[in-house]
Amino acid sequence: MEMTEARSGMTSAEAAPTNVEQILRLYIAGQTPRSVKAFANLKRLCEEHLKGRYRIEVIDLIQNPQLAAGDQILAVPTLVRLLPEPVRKIIGDLSNTDRVLVGLDVRPAP
């Protein structure tokens, strides 16, 4: 499936503890099964716990290799939370949801 920017609508009804939008950037290196899996995991997680408060950007390093240096990307896939600060990096296919949430400092939705 084509991965493009995905946005969610903002609904004030789902106010979470922090009202800040999470800007998330997923770095992949080509459409490998692992990358696909990571994106799927991410999408699911965001819908579940960050409904309406997230923005996912996907960077393919094969297409944009120069970005690997700029953002200090080593491992693939890497999820970088740009906002809110501090910047967090989560590497792996994001299959461990709990750890991702801890990494993003997000309280799991009830």
Binding site: A29, R34, L61, P65, A68, L74, K89, I90, G92, S95
Partner: protein, 592 residues
């Protein structure tokens, strides 16, 4: 054709392993050309021993001298820190980066930032590296120090698998890579990188013994190539890194026959008439104040006058002091310094380790390219190292000098009043010529003497000469070896005066005798003259009286005859003869 296909290799032509030169002085020599091309080499050592510098030198030299751009991937220092650290060594990284000869990439791995959630690989690193290599067409890569990844990432098995993949990837790319690693406790590197990178392994060491630190390099492994296996000292200074290789300890120097003057004429005479062999090593030993440095100064002066370059290594005095001291014996070295023919290097022995001294001297020799080298005094190196070490170092240095045909003069201080035939540094067997400055004590004085203990390859004098430091240089004077023993100093002067006086007296004696002879001759001649005169007088007298006598006899006869005639006597004369002729008639007639 099945026949010709042997996997693409004709086994008869075995190609030698191609090597990439590092440009590091001495290193390319001991490896026979540098690091293996297209392979990864491991450089390991403890903190601060020069791994990063080695790797950076490899890249910078590759970019500037061998037209091979390079990528430096740093896992510890940032690009700015790196640039600053190597700027003091003369590496201008920013210019190289601008010219697209070098790429500096800093990979920051922060444990606190990272959360590991599931499976991953390090493709990001590969992408970065690949991009950097492609952007400038790099042929050389440095990863410094990849072990930082181990502290940043938890999953060791993924890490190790990826490292294996990385080194294969590097090989596929055909770049020559240098990987640095921190020294481990029981292994070469802390994380065991030597498992993956095993084409060449170089170990750097930085140890401190007796308060002096020395840096050493050792090639632990070099697959496919013969290499020196010893530890080589190296140094890092403002010109970068330099390894001191052990030059031909194989005793294979050319033997020269050209002779050069020692600077003291009579010394040249003592050395077979012509002086030292070019490229030989001379040792001058003696007690303090004997004049060893002065001999060295004479040699330097003579060499500079011939237009040759001289390099002097001082271990005890400053150059200014030496120049001033030599002026007092009439040698002015300042003009040679000004003209660039003479250079001084002064360093206290305790300044750094022995290998560092040797490396510094090696460097200086390479740079200055002298014809003559002086080491003054080598015995002071004993204050920083054991005799055996100093001897080994000096052997290497002598070797280096001989290989280059540099004539070397070393001075050595010998202790004690008895000058034994063994110098403190025990190098007497290495040198070709050994001049010994001794003290000759007599009559309450100490005078200096010099003699040639040995001089290989030439006939030399076995006489001691008295060694004088005058204000117009060194003078060698004959000693007097007489019944009173060897005379030097004032005793010699006295003896000389005495001999001169004796000569004068002898001369006077001769003159006196000659005068006597002349006088006798004159007397004799006078006597002869008077005798002759007397004789002539007598002769005249006798002649006169003889004449008178004859006349008297003649007159007497006449008288008798006339008397007889008067008497008509018939003298026997008148009696007629019984022959026809009557001579008497005639006579009678005559008589009438």
């Amino acid at each position: 054709m099945a026949n010709s296909d042997t996997g693409g290799h004709d086994l008869r032509t075995v190609t030698r392993l191609p090597k990439s030169p590092t440009g590091i002085e001495g290193f390319d020599q001991i490896t026979g050309g540098g690091l293996p091309t297209g392979r990864a080499s491991l450089v390991c050592g403890s903190a601060g021993c020069g791994k990063t510098l080695f790797a950076m030198s490899f890249l910078v030299n590759g970019a500037t001298r061998f037209d091979e751009p390079g990528v430096f991937m740093s896992f510890e220092e940032s690009a700015d820190e790196l640039a600053k650290n190597v700027a003091s060594l003369g590496f201008d990284l920013s210019t190289l980066i601008e010219k697209k000869k070098l790429v500096l990439d800093h990979v920051r791995v922060e444990r606190s930032e990272i959360e590991e959630t599931g499976d991953y690989d390090l493709e990001g690193l590969f992408v970065r590296l690949g991009f950097a290599i492609d952007s400038i067409g790099a042929r050389r890569v440095v990863l410094d120090t990849i072990e930082s990844l181990f502290s940043g990432l938890l999953n060791q098995s993924i890490l190790r698998a990826e490292l294996r993949r990385l080194f294969r990837w590097l090989k596929d790319r055909g770049v020559t890579a240098v990987i640095t690693g921190e020294r481990g406790e029981g292994s070469l590197t802390r994380q065991g990188l030597e498992e993956y990178v095993s084409d060449a392994v170089i170990l750097l060491d930085h140890r401190v013994t007796a308060q002096v630190s020395t840096r050493r390099l050792r090639i632990v492994k070099y697959r496919g190539s013969p290499h020196g296996t010893n530890e080589y000292p190296f140094l890092i200074d403002e010109d970068g890194m330099a390894v001191l290789p052990i030059t031909s300890l194989g005793l294979d120097h050319a033997a020269r026959t050209e002779r050069i003057s020692s600077g003291v004429d009579r010394l040249d005479t003592m050395l077979g008439g012509q002086g030292y062999f070019r490229g030989s090593t001379i040792l001058v030993s003696g007690t303090a104040g004997a004049g060893k440095s002065s001999l060295g100064a004479h040699f330097v002066h003579a060499a500079c006058r011939r237009g040759e370059r001289c390099l002097v290594f001082l271990f005890e005095e400053s150059p200014q002091q030496v120049v001033r001291n030599m002026r007092s014996i009439g040698i002015d070295l300042q003009p040679w310094i000004d003209r660039g023919l003479l250079e001084y290097h002064a360093a206290r022995p305790a300044l750094h380790g022995l290998e560092m001294h040797l490396s510094q001297m090696y460097r200086a020799i390479e740079r200055f390219q002298p014809n003559v080298a002086i080491l003054d005094p080598v015995s002071s190196l004993l204050s920083v190292a054991a005799t055996a070490d100093v001897r080994a170092t000096l052997t290497r240095l002598v070797d280096l000098l001989k290989t280059r045909g540099i004539t070397a003069l070393m001075t050595s201080l010998s202790h004690g009043r008895a000058e034994t035939e063994q110098t403190d540094v025990e190098i007497s067997s290495i040198v070709d010529t050994w001049l010994l400055l001794v003290t000759l004590e007599s009559n309450g004085e100490r005078n200096r003497g010099l003699y040639v203990l040995k001089s290989r390859g030439m006939g030399h004098s076995n006489q001691i000469r008295e060694f004088l430091l005058t204000d117009h240089g060194i003078e060698l004077v004959d000693v007097y070896a007489g019944s009173g023993g060897v005379l030097t100093g004032t005793a010699r002067v006295t003896q000389q005066a005495q001999e001169r006086a004796a000569e004068v007296a002898q001369q006077q004696e001769i003159e006196r005798k000659e005068r006597t002879l002349a006088r006798l001759r004159a007397a004799l001649e006078a006597e002869l003259a008077s005798l002759r005169a007397k004789f002539e007088a007598e002769q005249a007298d006798l002649a006169t009286s003889l004449e008178e006598e004859r006349e008297r006899i003649a007159r007497l006869r006449d008288d008798r005859k006339s008397l007889a005639q008067i008497r008509r006597a018939d003298t026997s004369e008148d009696r007629p003869k019984r022959s026809d002729e009557r001579p008497v008639d005639k006579r009678r007639a005559d008589k009438r």
